[in-house]
Protein backbone atom coordinates (compact mmCIF):
# COMPACT_ATOMS: atom_id res chain seq x y z
CA UNK A 1 0.00 0.00 0.00
CA UNK A 2 2.70 2.47 1.05
CA UNK A 3 4.75 1.55 -2.04
CA UNK A 4 1.79 2.27 -4.33
CA UNK A 5 1.17 5.64 -2.66
CA UNK A 6 4.83 6.63 -2.89
CA UNK A 7 4.95 5.64 -6.56
CA UNK A 8 1.79 7.64 -7.33
CA UNK A 9 3.26 10.66 -5.54
CA UNK A 10 6.54 10.27 -7.49
CA UNK A 11 4.64 9.99 -10.78
CA UNK A 12 2.69 13.15 -9.90
CA UNK A 13 5.97 14.98 -9.21
CA UNK A 14 7.48 13.71 -12.46
CA UNK A 15 4.46 14.97 -14.42
CA UNK A 16 5.29 18.54 -13.41
CA UNK A 17 7.16 20.56 -15.97
CA UNK A 18 9.70 21.94 -13.45
CA UNK A 19 10.80 18.41 -12.55
CA UNK A 20 11.62 17.61 -16.17
CA UNK A 21 13.20 21.02 -16.73
CA UNK A 22 15.53 20.49 -13.78
CA UNK A 23 16.69 17.13 -15.10
CA UNK A 24 16.90 18.20 -18.73
CA UNK A 25 19.09 21.21 -17.98
CA UNK A 26 22.59 19.74 -17.89
CA UNK A 27 24.04 22.54 -15.81
CA UNK A 28 21.01 22.97 -13.52
CA UNK A 29 21.05 19.33 -12.34
CA UNK A 30 24.84 19.23 -12.05
CA UNK A 31 24.94 22.51 -10.12
CA UNK A 32 22.35 21.20 -7.66
CA UNK A 33 24.23 17.90 -7.26
CA UNK A 34 27.59 19.64 -6.89
CA UNK A 35 26.16 21.97 -4.23
CA UNK A 36 24.64 18.97 -2.42
CA UNK A 37 27.99 17.16 -2.33
CA UNK A 38 30.21 20.17 -1.62
CA UNK A 39 28.05 21.25 1.31
CA UNK A 40 29.17 18.01 2.99
CA UNK A 41 32.31 19.93 3.93
CA UNK A 42 30.24 22.39 5.96
CA UNK A 43 27.61 20.08 7.46
CA UNK A 44 29.33 16.72 8.00
CA UNK A 45 32.71 18.42 8.42
CA UNK A 46 31.41 20.49 11.36
CA UNK A 47 29.53 17.50 12.79
CA UNK A 48 32.65 15.31 12.68
CA UNK A 49 34.66 17.94 14.58
CA UNK A 50 32.00 17.96 17.34
CA UNK A 51 31.92 14.13 17.46
CA UNK A 52 35.73 13.86 17.42
CA UNK A 53 35.88 16.33 20.34
CA UNK A 54 33.44 14.19 22.34
CA UNK A 55 35.71 11.20 21.75
CA UNK A 56 38.77 13.20 22.80
CA UNK A 57 40.39 12.88 19.36
CA UNK A 58 40.58 16.60 18.66
CA UNK A 59 41.04 19.84 20.67
CA UNK A 60 40.92 18.20 24.13
CA UNK A 61 41.95 21.50 25.75
CA UNK A 62 38.95 23.43 24.37
CA UNK A 63 35.63 23.11 26.28
CA UNK A 64 33.38 20.67 24.42
CA UNK A 65 30.37 22.96 24.79
CA UNK A 66 32.34 25.77 23.07
CA UNK A 67 33.05 23.51 20.08
CA UNK A 68 29.43 22.33 19.89
CA UNK A 69 27.93 25.81 20.28
CA UNK A 70 30.25 27.61 17.85
CA UNK A 71 29.89 25.00 15.11
CA UNK A 72 26.13 24.64 15.57
CA UNK A 73 25.16 27.50 13.24
CA UNK A 74 27.51 26.60 10.30
CA UNK A 75 26.44 22.97 10.64
CA UNK A 76 22.72 23.86 10.54
CA UNK A 77 23.30 26.14 7.50
CA UNK A 78 25.12 23.25 5.80
CA UNK A 79 22.35 20.77 6.54
CA UNK A 80 19.67 23.25 5.40
CA UNK A 81 21.44 23.63 2.01
CA UNK A 82 21.84 19.85 1.78
CA UNK A 83 18.14 19.25 2.42
CA UNK A 84 17.01 21.85 -0.13
CA UNK A 85 19.39 20.52 -2.80
CA UNK A 86 18.57 16.93 -1.79
CA UNK A 87 14.87 17.62 -2.26
CA UNK A 88 15.59 19.14 -5.68
CA UNK A 89 17.59 16.05 -6.69
CA UNK A 90 14.64 13.83 -5.73
CA UNK A 91 12.27 16.25 -7.52
CA UNK A 92 14.31 15.90 -10.73
CA UNK A 93 14.20 12.07 -10.68
CA UNK A 94 11.24 11.21 -8.42
CA UNK A 95 10.21 7.79 -9.79
CA UNK A 96 13.77 6.48 -10.05
CA UNK A 97 14.65 7.75 -6.55
CA UNK A 98 11.53 6.52 -4.78
CA UNK A 99 12.22 3.05 -6.21
CA UNK A 100 15.86 3.04 -5.11
CA UNK A 101 16.66 0.69 -2.24
CA UNK A 102 19.71 2.78 -1.33
CA UNK A 103 17.64 5.97 -1.15
CA UNK A 104 15.19 4.25 1.20
CA UNK A 105 18.00 2.99 3.46
CA UNK A 106 19.50 6.49 3.36
CA UNK A 107 16.21 8.03 4.52
CA UNK A 108 15.92 5.50 7.38
CA UNK A 109 19.52 6.27 8.44
CA UNK A 110 18.75 10.02 8.23
CA UNK A 111 15.77 9.62 10.56
CA UNK A 112 17.92 7.56 12.97
CA UNK A 113 20.67 10.22 12.79
CA UNK A 114 18.20 12.97 13.69
CA UNK A 115 16.73 10.99 16.59
CA UNK A 116 20.29 10.37 17.80
CA UNK A 117 21.14 14.09 17.42
CA UNK A 118 18.04 15.03 19.42
CA UNK A 119 18.93 12.60 22.27
CA UNK A 120 22.59 13.71 22.09
CA UNK A 121 21.63 17.39 22.42
CA UNK A 122 19.35 16.65 25.39
CA UNK A 123 22.15 14.72 27.12
CA UNK A 124 24.65 17.46 26.30
CA UNK A 125 22.43 20.10 27.92
CA UNK A 126 21.73 17.90 30.95
CA UNK A 127 25.46 17.33 31.54
CA UNK A 128 26.48 20.94 30.84
CA UNK A 129 29.23 22.24 33.09
CA UNK A 130 29.97 18.94 34.82
CA UNK A 131 32.62 17.66 32.39
CA UNK A 132 33.16 20.50 29.89
CA UNK A 133 36.93 20.71 30.37
CA UNK A 134 37.49 16.95 30.48
CA UNK A 135 39.39 15.73 27.41
CA UNK A 136 36.83 12.96 26.85
CA UNK A 137 33.04 13.23 27.19
CA UNK A 138 31.01 10.98 29.54
CA UNK A 139 30.18 7.50 28.25
CA UNK A 140 26.60 8.28 27.11
CA UNK A 141 27.81 11.22 24.99
CA UNK A 142 30.71 9.19 23.59
CA UNK A 143 28.24 6.51 22.58
CA UNK A 144 26.06 9.17 20.94
CA UNK A 145 29.09 10.52 19.05
CA UNK A 146 30.07 7.04 17.79
CA UNK A 147 26.46 6.32 16.69
CA UNK A 148 26.39 9.71 14.95
CA UNK A 149 29.65 8.99 13.07
CA UNK A 150 28.45 5.53 12.00
CA UNK A 151 25.01 6.79 10.88
CA UNK A 152 26.37 9.72 8.87
CA UNK A 153 29.03 7.53 7.24
CA UNK A 154 26.13 5.25 6.30
CA UNK A 155 24.09 8.18 4.94
CA UNK A 156 26.99 9.32 2.71
CA UNK A 157 27.72 5.76 1.56
CA UNK A 158 24.06 5.11 0.66
CA UNK A 159 24.01 8.45 -1.18
CA UNK A 160 27.02 7.28 -3.19
CA UNK A 161 25.30 3.95 -4.00
CA UNK A 162 22.13 5.60 -5.42
CA UNK A 163 23.51 6.16 -8.98
CA UNK A 164 24.55 2.48 -9.27
CA UNK A 165 22.01 0.04 -10.76
CA UNK A 166 22.84 -3.21 -8.91
CA UNK A 167 19.43 -3.42 -7.23
CA UNK A 168 17.34 -1.39 -9.68
CA UNK A 169 13.83 -2.78 -10.20
CA UNK A 170 14.69 -4.15 -13.66
CA UNK A 171 17.76 -6.03 -12.38
CA UNK A 172 16.24 -7.81 -9.37
CA UNK A 173 13.93 -10.81 -9.03
CA UNK A 174 14.02 -11.36 -5.27
CA UNK A 175 10.49 -10.43 -3.96
CA UNK A 176 11.81 -9.11 -0.63
CA UNK A 177 14.23 -6.73 -2.32
CA UNK A 178 11.56 -5.71 -4.84
CA UNK A 179 9.19 -4.90 -1.97
CA UNK A 180 11.90 -3.05 0.02
CA UNK A 181 12.80 -1.00 -3.07
CA UNK A 182 9.12 -0.31 -3.85
CA UNK A 183 9.15 -1.92 -7.31
CA UNK A 184 5.36 -2.08 -7.61
CA UNK A 185 5.09 -3.15 -11.26
CA UNK A 186 7.75 -5.87 -10.98
CA UNK A 187 6.07 -7.26 -7.84
CA UNK A 188 2.71 -7.42 -9.61
CA UNK A 189 4.31 -9.20 -12.56
CA UNK A 190 5.70 -11.99 -10.35
Amino acid sequence: MINELLLQFAQWLYAQSYSQMLLAGYYSYNWVEATHVLTLMLSIGSLFIIDFRMLGLILPNVPASTIANRLHKPMIIGFAIMFITGFLLVYAKPVETVQSLWFRIKMILLVCAFINAWIFNARLKAAEGSWDMDPVAPKNLRTGAIISLVLWCGVVTMGRYIPYDWVDCVNVENPTILWAAGCVEQLQAL
Partner: protein, 195 residues
Protein backbone atom coordinates in the same frame (compact mmCIF):
# COMPACT_ATOMS: atom_id res chain seq x y z
CA UNK B 1 72.37 36.70 6.91
CA UNK B 2 72.05 33.98 4.25
CA UNK B 3 72.22 31.13 6.77
CA UNK B 4 69.65 32.92 8.98
CA UNK B 5 67.30 33.22 6.01
CA UNK B 6 67.95 29.59 5.08
CA UNK B 7 67.15 28.34 8.57
CA UNK B 8 64.09 30.50 9.19
CA UNK B 9 62.40 30.06 5.83
CA UNK B 10 63.82 26.71 4.73
CA UNK B 11 60.47 25.13 3.83
CA UNK B 12 59.22 28.26 2.05
CA UNK B 13 62.43 28.46 0.02
CA UNK B 14 62.15 24.78 -0.92
CA UNK B 15 58.58 25.38 -2.12
CA UNK B 16 59.65 28.37 -4.21
CA UNK B 17 62.52 26.34 -5.69
CA UNK B 18 60.07 23.57 -6.62
CA UNK B 19 57.73 26.12 -8.21
CA UNK B 20 60.65 27.69 -10.11
CA UNK B 21 61.68 24.23 -11.31
CA UNK B 22 58.12 23.53 -12.53
CA UNK B 23 58.09 26.84 -14.45
CA UNK B 24 61.49 26.11 -16.01
CA UNK B 25 60.40 22.58 -16.98
CA UNK B 26 57.22 24.02 -18.49
CA UNK B 27 59.26 26.54 -20.49
CA UNK B 28 61.44 23.79 -21.98
CA UNK B 29 58.29 21.82 -22.95
CA UNK B 30 59.11 19.04 -20.46
CA UNK B 31 55.46 18.33 -19.61
CA UNK B 32 54.47 18.15 -23.27
CA UNK B 33 57.36 15.75 -23.88
CA UNK B 34 56.55 13.32 -21.08
CA UNK B 35 52.73 13.45 -21.39
CA UNK B 36 52.43 10.78 -24.14
CA UNK B 37 54.80 8.55 -22.17
CA UNK B 38 52.40 8.56 -19.22
CA UNK B 39 49.58 6.90 -21.18
CA UNK B 40 50.98 3.34 -20.93
CA UNK B 41 51.31 3.81 -17.16
CA UNK B 42 47.68 4.95 -16.86
CA UNK B 43 46.54 2.04 -19.08
CA UNK B 44 48.56 -0.40 -16.98
CA UNK B 45 46.98 1.00 -13.78
CA UNK B 46 43.49 0.65 -15.27
CA UNK B 47 43.78 -2.80 -16.89
CA UNK B 48 46.64 -4.64 -15.14
CA UNK B 49 47.20 -3.30 -11.62
CA UNK B 50 45.21 -4.91 -8.78
CA UNK B 51 43.58 -1.61 -7.73
CA UNK B 52 42.38 -0.94 -11.29
CA UNK B 53 41.01 -4.48 -11.67
CA UNK B 54 39.41 -4.43 -8.19
CA UNK B 55 37.75 -1.07 -8.85
CA UNK B 56 36.35 -2.04 -12.23
CA UNK B 57 35.32 -5.61 -11.32
CA UNK B 58 33.53 -4.87 -8.05
CA UNK B 59 31.30 -1.79 -8.35
CA UNK B 60 30.29 -2.03 -4.69
CA UNK B 61 33.91 -1.77 -3.53
CA UNK B 62 34.48 1.18 -5.88
CA UNK B 63 31.37 2.99 -4.60
CA UNK B 64 32.32 2.34 -0.96
CA UNK B 65 35.81 3.72 -1.51
CA UNK B 66 34.21 6.72 -3.27
CA UNK B 67 32.12 7.28 -0.11
CA UNK B 68 35.33 7.09 1.96
CA UNK B 69 36.85 9.71 -0.35
CA UNK B 70 33.83 11.99 0.16
CA UNK B 71 33.94 11.52 3.95
CA UNK B 72 37.65 12.33 4.11
CA UNK B 73 37.06 15.42 1.94
CA UNK B 74 34.22 16.42 4.29
CA UNK B 75 36.60 16.09 7.25
CA UNK B 76 39.23 18.19 5.47
CA UNK B 77 36.52 20.76 4.72
CA UNK B 78 35.36 20.84 8.34
CA UNK B 79 38.88 21.41 9.67
CA UNK B 80 39.74 23.98 6.98
CA UNK B 81 36.53 25.95 7.56
CA UNK B 82 36.83 25.86 11.37
CA UNK B 83 40.47 27.01 11.42
CA UNK B 84 40.30 29.46 8.53
CA UNK B 85 37.02 31.06 9.64
CA UNK B 86 38.69 31.48 13.05
CA UNK B 87 41.64 33.23 11.39
CA UNK B 88 39.09 35.48 9.67
CA UNK B 89 37.45 36.15 13.06
CA UNK B 90 34.07 34.69 12.04
CA UNK B 91 33.79 31.65 14.35
CA UNK B 92 35.50 30.55 17.61
CA UNK B 93 36.40 34.12 18.55
CA UNK B 94 36.72 33.04 22.19
CA UNK B 95 39.21 30.25 21.37
CA UNK B 96 42.86 31.18 20.69
CA UNK B 97 43.58 30.58 16.99
CA UNK B 98 46.92 28.93 17.95
CA UNK B 99 45.00 26.28 19.93
CA UNK B 100 42.61 25.68 17.05
CA UNK B 101 45.20 25.43 14.27
CA UNK B 102 47.52 23.15 16.27
CA UNK B 103 44.70 21.04 17.71
CA UNK B 104 43.13 20.22 14.35
CA UNK B 105 46.25 19.72 12.22
CA UNK B 106 46.62 16.02 13.09
CA UNK B 107 43.06 15.28 11.92
CA UNK B 108 43.71 17.31 8.74
CA UNK B 109 46.84 15.26 7.97
CA UNK B 110 45.02 11.96 8.59
CA UNK B 111 42.04 13.00 6.45
CA UNK B 112 44.40 14.14 3.66
CA UNK B 113 46.19 10.76 3.65
CA UNK B 114 42.83 8.92 3.47
CA UNK B 115 41.62 11.29 0.71
CA UNK B 116 44.79 10.69 -1.34
CA UNK B 117 44.71 6.89 -0.90
CA UNK B 118 41.00 6.60 -1.74
CA UNK B 119 41.49 9.10 -4.57
CA UNK B 120 44.24 6.92 -6.10
CA UNK B 121 41.87 3.92 -5.96
CA UNK B 122 39.03 5.90 -7.57
CA UNK B 123 41.30 7.29 -10.30
CA UNK B 124 42.79 3.82 -10.97
CA UNK B 125 39.35 2.46 -11.91
CA UNK B 126 38.96 5.10 -14.63
CA UNK B 127 42.65 5.81 -15.30
CA UNK B 128 42.29 5.53 -19.08
CA UNK B 129 39.58 8.24 -18.98
CA UNK B 130 41.08 10.69 -16.47
CA UNK B 131 44.34 10.71 -18.43
CA UNK B 132 42.56 12.71 -21.16
CA UNK B 133 40.72 15.05 -18.75
CA UNK B 134 42.22 18.49 -18.31
CA UNK B 135 40.24 18.90 -15.08
CA UNK B 136 41.96 15.83 -13.58
CA UNK B 137 45.41 17.32 -14.16
CA UNK B 138 44.15 20.66 -12.86
CA UNK B 139 42.94 18.95 -9.69
CA UNK B 140 46.30 17.21 -9.21
CA UNK B 141 48.06 20.56 -9.62
CA UNK B 142 45.77 22.30 -7.10
CA UNK B 143 46.14 19.37 -4.68
CA UNK B 144 49.94 19.59 -4.92
CA UNK B 145 49.84 23.38 -4.49
CA UNK B 146 47.39 23.02 -1.57
CA UNK B 147 49.54 20.43 0.21
CA UNK B 148 52.66 22.53 -0.36
CA UNK B 149 50.83 25.61 0.88
CA UNK B 150 49.70 23.91 4.10
CA UNK B 151 52.95 22.14 4.99
CA UNK B 152 55.49 24.66 3.70
CA UNK B 153 53.82 28.03 4.21
CA UNK B 154 50.69 28.10 6.37
CA UNK B 155 51.58 25.75 9.23
CA UNK B 156 55.24 26.85 9.58
CA UNK B 157 54.13 30.49 9.67
CA UNK B 158 51.28 29.90 12.14
CA UNK B 159 53.55 27.79 14.39
CA UNK B 160 56.49 30.21 14.25
CA UNK B 161 55.09 32.90 16.57
CA UNK B 162 51.98 33.96 18.50
CA UNK B 163 49.29 34.93 15.99
CA UNK B 164 48.93 38.34 17.62
CA UNK B 165 52.40 39.15 16.32
CA UNK B 166 51.49 38.27 12.72
CA UNK B 167 50.02 40.99 10.52
CA UNK B 168 46.21 40.44 10.64
CA UNK B 169 45.98 40.94 6.85
CA UNK B 170 48.52 38.17 6.35
CA UNK B 171 46.39 35.87 8.54
CA UNK B 172 43.29 36.77 6.52
CA UNK B 173 45.18 36.19 3.26
CA UNK B 174 46.32 32.76 4.50
CA UNK B 175 42.76 31.83 5.49
CA UNK B 176 41.14 32.97 2.22
CA UNK B 177 43.86 31.28 0.13
CA UNK B 178 43.41 28.05 2.09
CA UNK B 179 39.59 28.05 1.73
CA UNK B 180 39.85 28.77 -2.02
CA UNK B 181 42.44 26.04 -2.60
CA UNK B 182 40.54 23.28 -0.78
CA UNK B 183 37.20 24.34 -2.23
CA UNK B 184 38.79 24.12 -5.71
CA UNK B 185 40.16 20.64 -4.93
CA UNK B 186 36.66 19.46 -3.90
CA UNK B 187 34.88 21.22 -6.77
CA UNK B 188 37.23 19.81 -9.42
CA UNK B 189 36.55 16.36 -7.96
CA UNK B 190 32.85 16.84 -8.69
CA UNK B 191 33.74 18.19 -12.13
CA UNK B 192 35.64 14.94 -12.89
CA UNK B 193 32.46 13.07 -11.94
CA UNK B 194 30.43 15.06 -14.47
CA UNK B 195 32.99 14.81 -17.29
Amino acid sequence: MFSLLLNQYRRTLILFLVLALIIILEMVQFRAAIYPGLLPIFEWVRYSSWIGILGTTYGSIYATVEAGHLLSMATIGGVVLATDLRLLGIVFRDVPSETLTRGTHKVFKLALVVAILTGIFCAAGVADKVYYMQVFWFKMLVLAVGSGFVFFIKQPLLNSMPHAQINPWLLRLLAITSILIWFTVAATGRWIGFS
